[in-house]
Amino acid sequence: MSTETARLRAGGGGSSRPWYRNWQLYTLLILPVAYFVIFRYLPMAGNIIAFRQYMPGGNIFGEYWTGFDNFKLFLADPGFWQVFRNNIVLGGLALLFGFPAPIILALLLNEVRNRGFKRFVQSATYLPHFLSVVIVAGMIMQLTSLQGTINHFLSTVGIDKIAFMQDPGWFPAIYVGSEVWQTAGWGTILYLAALTQIDESLYEAARIDGANRWKQTWHVTIPGITPTIVTLLILNIGTFLGVGFEKIFLLYNPSTYATADVISTYLFRVGIQSGSFSYAAAIGMFEALIGAILVISSNMVAKRLTGAGLW
């Protein structure tokens, strides 16, 4: 085996060849690298318009320098801070409720002995993950409409109908609830995988020590998946500002802007719909920078604490 490998290496394979003898490998990179340059790096460079005046149809890097004017403008704009706050509230609530949900579901699934039933529950709860956000928005609107099931239920128990989608007070609950609905089942996958890795002998030992099922869960199961929980928590904290732009865009309307409008929807309206591209690019850059800092630092924390990170 080893002599054969050695012979193959001597035959010219492996990394001993000069780089240009692998030119064919480089040709495979041409199109993907062009893709990255044009559709990922060019827009990054295009953010320069945050500091320059962009004219629709003009130079993609803008016409003349404006310095930090756009940044000063939005940082002094109470409207921006309103959406910033909304962003933190919606992202924070989605994390608060959306993060524990799959852990609880996975622990409950772990206690199921009947494999068929377990698979049935998994299949059903994974389903929302595969839906288009447009479908999800459509379902939410039908359920919460004045003729919808929720209002019908309320009226049968004698409560007045509620115009959920017109009431800014309800938006966070609707958004967070639908996030949990969509992600709880799918989120169990990594936990269920971690659960299968727990050493059987630990349960054996716990049983000999007289631990009942609850104690086994508390002292064996939960410690067994704690590294997964910590890693995912840190990574989720890193991305919590990236709330679901498309879903909010589909669900909100002017009457719910007070709680529903977030940074990404705000800059979309200001930039693309109203044409203030440079101003919106400044806001977008600010958001992306905060996001990148959060992701990088949370990944560093995850790596230090658990040895596992995103990369």
């Binding site: 490998t5 193959l8 035959g11 394979g13 492996g14 990394s15 780089w19 490998l25 480089y26 495979l28 990179l29 993907p32 690298v33 893709y35 990255f36 044009i38 559709f39 990922r40 060019l42 827009p43 295009g46 318009i49 962009y54 993609i60 206690e111 002995r113 009947n114 529950v121 299949s123 059903a124 709860t125 389903l127 595969f130 288009s132 956000v133 447009v134 479908i135 928005a137 459509g138 379902m139 039908q142 359920l143 003729q147 919808g148 099931t149 609905w181 089942g185 996958i189 009942n212 099922r213 309307n253 979309f268 719909q273 591209f277 690019a281 977008g284 958001e287 996001g291 990148a292 596992a308």
Partner: protein, 315 residues
């Protein structure tokens, strides 16, 4: 009703398997039995909550609008009416948009697969000098994106608007998918590839005739991930398409929904005869969009789980 036999079956099964199955419950206390039942009930409740919106949409799609307007349709169809399906299926715009979805899905999945495979394979080879640089180049885009405004400007400047390329190109490569493919390629036996090289296959030959046939599972996973993503996608089309006969069916549905909320955008492609779009019409459209997904759901589920596991193994 349903939970009683299921709950009963659980302890019986574990008693039978008692000694071999892990965490046997030979000395199962009363509390534990109660927990077993409660657990099943909670999970069934979770399933019911998850599935209810689907059931509701299907029921509404088969109900007459009168009943829906009175809020009487929740789980069962009321005032059975399949003619709504006929109404939607007779709308030529619906068909054009549905066909667009199919075309966009096929084309952009193909583009994504070609670009992702070429990149992932190249950077999986240790003999590629500068592979760290190329991998880094990809990962940076995961952390920091140019954002919607500059991307919109670039797509416009390239005159891609109102073409399929505005949909297929900007998001063509998912770096996460590339990393999954790369780690899969890296784990292929080196000897095999080197032997192929000695047999005179060049890089392209090795990729096409050795690597891809060995990677069917991961390729199928990636195809499904890209295809489902594209099937469900609506925003790029909404952003870059100006004519209703270029919309995918998701944008068609979006316009039906937006019509009800009084949102902007007058380009709704709804049937001109309908002054107000009924919940039953929206429901029918939703059902027709979801059906293909349900059709491939058993495969999707399996392959997606494989994909997510491959992704997490690579640390």
């Amino acid at each position: 009703m349903i939970e009683a036999p299921a709950a009963g079956a659980v302890p019986t099964a574990s008693l039978v398997l008692g000694n071999t199955k892990h965490r046997s419950r030979i000395r199962q206390s009363r509390g534990e039995r109660i927990f077993g039942v409660v657990n099943v009930v909670i999970l069934l409740l979770a399933v019911a909550i998850t599935l209810f919106p689907f059931v509701n949409v299907v029921a509404q799609s088969l109900s007459s609008e009168k009943y829906i307007d009175f809020g009487l349709v929740s789980v069962w169809p009321r005032g059975w009416d399949v003619s709504t399906y006929g109404l939607v299926l007779k709308d030529p715009t619906f068909w054009i948009n549905y066909r667009n979805t199919v075309v966009y899905t096929v084309v952009s999945t193909a583009v994504s697969m070609v670009l992702s495979t070429m990149f992932a394979y190249a950077v999986s080879r240790p003999e590629l000098k500068g592979r760290k640089f190329f991998i880094g180049m990809a990962i940076v885009t995961m952390l920091y994106s140019g954002g919607i405004i500059p991307t919109y400007i670039v797509v416009n400047k390239l005159n891609l608007t109102d073409t399929i390329w505005a949909i297929a190109l900007p998001g063509a490569i998912s770096v996460f998918n590339v990393l999954v493919m790369k780690s899969f390629f890296e784990n292929l036996p080196d000897e095999l590839l080197e032997a192929a090289q000695i047999d005179g296959l060049n890089t392209y030959g090795i990729l096409l005739r050795i690597v891809l046939p060995l990677s069917k599972a991961v390729m199928a996973t990636m195809i499904l991930i890209y295809a489902v993503g594209q099937w469900n996608s609506w925003f790029p089309a909404f952003l870059y398409m100006d004519h209703s006969d270029l919309y995918p069916v998701t944008v068609y549905l979006r316009n039906l929904i937006a019509g009800a909320t009084g949102a902007q955008d007058a380009g709704a492609s709804a049937d001109g005869n309908l002054t107000q779009i009924g919940a039953n019409i929206k429901s029918v459209t939703m059902v027709l969009i979801v059906i293909p997904i349900l059709f491939v759901y058993p495969f999707i589920q399996r392959y997606f789980v494989t994909g997510i596991m491959l992704g997490s193994v690579k640390g």
